[in-house]
Amino acid sequence: MQDVVEVRREPRSVEEIRGDFPILSRQVHGKPLVYLDSAASSQKPLAVIEAMNAYYRSSHANVHRGVYEISEEATAALERARTKVARFINARQSRQVIFTRNTTESINLVAYSWGWANIRAGDLIVLTTMEHHSNLVPWQLLAQRSGARLEFVPVSPEGLLQLDVYARLLEQGPKLVAFTQMSNVLGTINPVKEMIAQAHAAGAVVLVDAAQSAPHLPLDVQELDADFVCFSGHKMLGPTGIGVLYGKRELLEAMPPFLGGGDMIRSVSLRSSTWNDLPWKFEAGTPAIAEAVGLGAAVDYLSALGMEWVRQHERAITAYALERLQTVPQLRIYGPASGEQRGGVVSFSLADIHPHDLASILDQEFGVAIRAGHHCAQPLMEHLGLVATARASFYVYTLPEEIDVLVQGLRRALEIFQL
């Protein structure tokens, strides 16, 4: 299989980029789809769909150990995808990239494997109140079983982490610190590099939830000096069913396996086994080969656009959205006011209209897809005194005209609710 890597020097127009995404030309309820839910899952460019298609049409077989042409091709495709991802996040070695199902599984892998080997009763784990449930519940389970303690860095009214509290918690010598690089509710971009350095100075291991940031910001795991970084393929133009755990080599080497089975072993006897090398030690069973190929194609696509361009585009579209949303009466925006501290996510509420009613009206009358609810971050919602918010989120294909349709829909919702 040949990889087609398009190297483009000129920035492409968003209109041109949209042409790469077949779904963006469909209609819903007789209106052009306005997809503003990329923080939940992004749409896929043809390059990704076709890479997976081509893999299944020409090269599929089970990977590793197959001593015939197409199995060797499939193995090469899987490992090539790993190398692409490693380059994308600037990992030192591709064996530090472990394929999982998604961010949630990556975090659980660390919580079970590293956590069980290293966390004891009375140990401290520091999290933040802005975490997605996937970076909260695995640590609750670990704490319940090990007797470890959980402490939380609170969020200020502006939606920023209270770093003075973080510093004080670090003084208590936590074993592990885990936080998100970007809030999926508030869009807050946390100062992870500084936070990691502080945590290391306090002797803690650091896990970064990059589910929201890896698709949208340039990510350099060596520059960040993160110990573990977790993200999902489907939020970054890739398919569902594939995620990544990046880890520092010495940590990964020392960790016991997570799932047992085929592929993760070196040798097996009836009563004991020895483990395979990294990364396969953590990849039990037949992996998601086509999905890895799709993720590789997604990474190529993003690299061709350039992650700096992606960030610039989202900063511009988010600034436009904040400006336009502020013209809607009775609309309240949550999270940081400044575009520098915010990714392409805007949570808001409109008068006393429940976000689900809002989302239904936007969908039915305007073809606008937004998310409504607690965004899998109930503790944060409680902290904000909210049951639910509406959330619009943006990506490489989002146009200012789509923000205009959103704003038009919100004004219509006010009319419907006679406000």
Partner: protein, 136 residues
């Protein structure tokens, strides 16, 4: 959801009927929709074979709250036998607008609470309520 929320839905949402608590209810039940956080609690007063009073409290979207308000109007003063028979068709008919699959849980939250109450009060078989719930 259709093109607009009909006037009567908004009316029930803004001005819910039978809102509040009963002093000595036969049964009190609360439930929430974990997906969206909509909440409904309900008090029933059953005297003889009749539901003589009903009150509810809740917060959530217009569909969940209006549907529950409408449901309480169908319940009050009816025989237990009639109340046990109330189902999703009654709710959809009362709402009178198309409800998308994702919003069905909102529309039927009050109905769930009602049937939970009946089960708790020993007036409905749990299997019956569960079967109804599975249909939702």
């Amino acid at each position: 959801m259709s093109m607009d929320y009909r006037e009567y839905i908004l009316d029930h949402y803004r001005d819910p009927r039978n809102y509040g608590r009963l002093e000595n209810p036969t049964v009190h039940v609360e439930d929430s929709n974990p997906l969206c956080g909509d909440q409904v609690s309900m008090d029933l007063l059953v005297e003889g074979d009749r539901v003589t009073a009903v009150r509810f409290q809740g917060r959530g979207c217009a569909i969940s709250q209006a549907a529950t308000s409408m449901l309480t109007e169908m319940v009050e003063g009816k025989s237990v036998e009639e109340v046990v028979r109330l189902g999703k068709d009654d709710i959809l008919e009362a709402l009178g607008i198309p409800i998308s699959p994702a919003r069905m849980k909102c529309a039927f939250l009050g109905l769930r609470v009602l049937h939970k109450s009946l089960v708790l009060a020993g007036l409905e078989r749990p299997e019956h309520a569960e079967e109804r719930d599975d249909e939702l």
